[in-house]
Amino acid sequence: MKENFSKEKYEGIFKITHFCVKWLVRILYVAMIVVVIGLVAVLFIPRSNFSFNTNQLEDISFQFYNLFVRIEDFVSEGTYNIKSVLLIAGVSGVVNIGFIQLILIGIRKLILKVKEGSPFDFKNAEVLRRMGMFFIAGSIVLPLANTAMMSTLVHTFNVIGESRVNFAIDLQFVFMGLLIMVLAYVFSYGSYLQEEHDSTV
């Protein structure tokens, strides 16, 4: 027996998702503005103002997955100019935040259309197709930005040991992108069926 379609089952999920996505987009806009302002400021402030002594790193440590690392164990003592590090970190931040923002804006558009009651719309299919392309592009762009940042960090601070920063395409992003593009085709076909249904009396 066919189950009757009920939108009420999903109303709660739509509301929560829309609320979270809406506020995340706003927060990321603010974060992006802060990073861009910081980047512009670093660009125009004279290089001499960016001297940094690694003695200030004493007792600073961070956790990388399950590894607990003390920064002073890896960085050579001395004074370094960190302007280039901050610039590259800013660019990397803009790229990462921008990518997340593009994906969230796409999700927000989809949710709004679904809430309106028209999930199968050619515009939704186009949004999904673009999101798939962003993921595939992101598999190269994001690792590139992050590699540039790590490389600058390693070379600026003369990280102890034979440090090497490798670039690798993020295959998870490639797979996600391809999956989303398959979904875009499904939505495109669904839109065609919806149109056929709507023009049947």
């Binding site: 056929e196 023009s199 049947t200 009396v201």
Partner: protein
């Protein structure tokens, strides 16, 4: 489109308004108007059955096939 509807002729014969027919058939006025002006791509048998029941006619009285281009504005 080669399939044309003669709904307005039948409505005139029965002295019935389109809105009245839409109410009795159970479809929206917009959809029935689209059917009347040939803007729909398909009609369900259930809809055709109700129209025939209300207008006391045959499906052939409502639907006509014409290979020549037809304009609803001529009616």
């Amino acid at each position: 489109m080669p399939i044309i509807t003669r709904l307005d002729r039948l409505l005139a014969e029965h002295k019935m308004q389109l809105s009245e027919l839409a109410d009795q058939v159970g479809i929206s006025l917009a959809n029935l108007s689209n059917l009347k002006t040939g803007k729909v791509k398909a009609i369900r048998f259930s809809t055709l059955e109700k129209i025939c029941e209300i207008l006391q006619c045959q499906p052939g009285d409502i639907l006509e096939y014409s290979q020549e281009p037809f304009s609803y504005s001529e009616e």
